[in-house]
Symmetry: C2
């Protein structure tokens, strides 16, 4: 197979042996794989893959066709269009995935969209539904709403019946965010003027968090899953006491096989029919062939995009 490989901080395309699925695993012939902020961190040496996953092939999400199956996996999965989160190794033509982590890709969905579904939707679903327990009628504030996880979060929150407020760097993407389901779109500075919110999904860090903490309603839940703009914040603990609020943090990558399988099941129950009928989509900012992986990473690092950056493996 061909794979993006990491040599110090340099990315190359190399030929590697195609792996063979073990018990409970499948081999996926990958058609597309999304980029994520974690990939940039990993390229800088800051976010290595958890044990059991390829250490030098980046990539946290993929979409493709099941090419072969390991022991104990039903053969109905063969040739199925699937997507999945992985602990590493997605930026390649092939990768092994636990069968319990597969999400079926609807027939009408392009590989580009499917390749950008898993990481964004797993992360947003886990944060908003499993951690914050976002309820119908609640007000949710989503920072970094123009990115992949933000796009997914806006749609999931809309499907939950929440009032969705999308906070973004600039208002350029306001119309697109309203199409996804945002009821209000504001800049980070305008967060200061918001009415109280029940849930905050923090995808940005310091500049947004420090403002959002003053807008918490009673029993508010703040879920922190991205701090690229600053992890150290001045937090006023009196606000948490007065609101009986909660701040929670998490990452997805290091979770156990079993927990990821549970999330896969819950997410499929909650979202499969919405994806099938087009009620959720994956906005794609730009697509690059695998051979242009360095250009893709460079583009991913630029501000102002809307949606996912995707590598495609179809020409190789």
């Amino acid at each position: 197979m061909n794979a993006v490989t990491l040599h110090e901080t340099e990315l190359r395309i190399e030929e590697r042996p195609t792996p063979v699925p073990g018990a409970g695993e499948v081999l996926v012939r990958i058609h597309a794989a999304g980029l994520n902020a974690a990939d940039l961190l990993q390229r800088r040496g800051h976010y290595s893959a958890p044990a059991g996953w390829p250490a030098d092939i980046p990539g946290l999400e993929l979409a493709g066709v099941v090419e072969s199956i390991g022991e104990g996996v039903g053969d109905s999965l063969l040739s199925r269009r699937v997507c999945a989160i992985v602990g590493g190794g997605a930026q390649a033509t092939h990768a092994l995935v636990p069968a319990s982590h597969l999400v079926t890709v609807p027939d009408h969905v392009s590989w580009e969209q499917a390749g950008g579904f898993a990481e964004s939707f797993f992360t947003a679903f886990d944060a908003l539904v499993r951690q914050a327990d976002l309820r119908s009628g609640e007000r949710v504030l989503i920072s970094g709403a123009a990115g992949g996880v933000g796009n997914a979060a806006v749609q999931i929150a809309r499907l939950r019946g929440a009032h969705v407020i999308a906070a973004v760097r600039t208002l350029n993407h306001g119309a697109a965010l309203r199409t996804l389901g945002a009821h209000e779109v504001c800049t980070i500075e305008q967060v200061n003027e918001l009415a109280p919110v029940d849930v905050v999904l923090e995808l940005v860090g310091e500049p947004h968090f420090t403002r959002a903490q003053h807008r918490l309603a009673p029993f508010a839940r703040v879920v922190v899953i991205g701090v690229g703009a600053g992890a150290k914040v001045e937090c006023d603990l009196r606000i948490l006491m007065a609101t009986r609020g909660r701040i929670m943090g998490s990452t997805m990558r290091g979770r156990s096989i079993d927990e990821k399988a549970l999330i896969t099941k819950e997410l499929t129950t909650a979202l499969a029919s919405s994806w099938e009928n087009g009620d959720v989509t994956v906005p794609v900012a730009r697509t690059f062939p695998l051979a242009e992986v360095n250009a893709a990473y460079d583009y991913f690092a630029t501000p102002g995009k809307f949606g996912k950056v995707i590598l495609t493996m179809d020409e190789s």
Copy 2:
């Protein structure tokens, strides 16, 4: 009845009409009432009583005898030795209390101890058990351990089977804290050297919180219920993400009648037999007669005490 009354920031003893219990309420002839940090805040005009409670008579906890009952209250409560948290009005010879909020005081327990039980034990129980879900074998770090809530927390954590670490301003009270159940006693500075902890009960604020956040184990819970030494903290959100940790804040005073009734029931189930058989106690730093309420408040404000400061109403 006689009551401590608040005139701007001055405390006086005044004669007031003794109230008559309404439906579901009892009138308690108070023998003792503990002081709490909230009383000092209220005297400075910062923490007024919630709706439905005496606005100008301070006091959040009391112990005494049920003297009369309102409609719908079983007469088996008459003459019973009880204690309770109240939204205000405890620093008086009489007060109304919802019958569902009463905790029975064991016969062998003095009024001084009983008067200091409710606020400390309700607060510590709610934080450690109901919010943090402290489990047997977990490591719990309790700041402000020499105070009333801290003393209660050390004992509740010991009864839960936790490994109890008590953080204090100075080590003077180390032996007394070990007697209550602390396995380790450290200064706030020594928190920097602790092995990771599963639960932090924050009763102090900034100087302790900023150190404790670096000692969190995976899935740690930090419950913030006191910030007298500083509410604004520099919080590193990366720690919460890496540990999948949670910070929760709360206060007890403003909660609904129903929620306080639920806590009363859960606390009684968990602690009544331990209080009865002497397995939990209420250390008392000093007792003052009601007439010396100003001296009691002044003493409460001094550092270095161990245990509760109690007003007694028995001479009036």
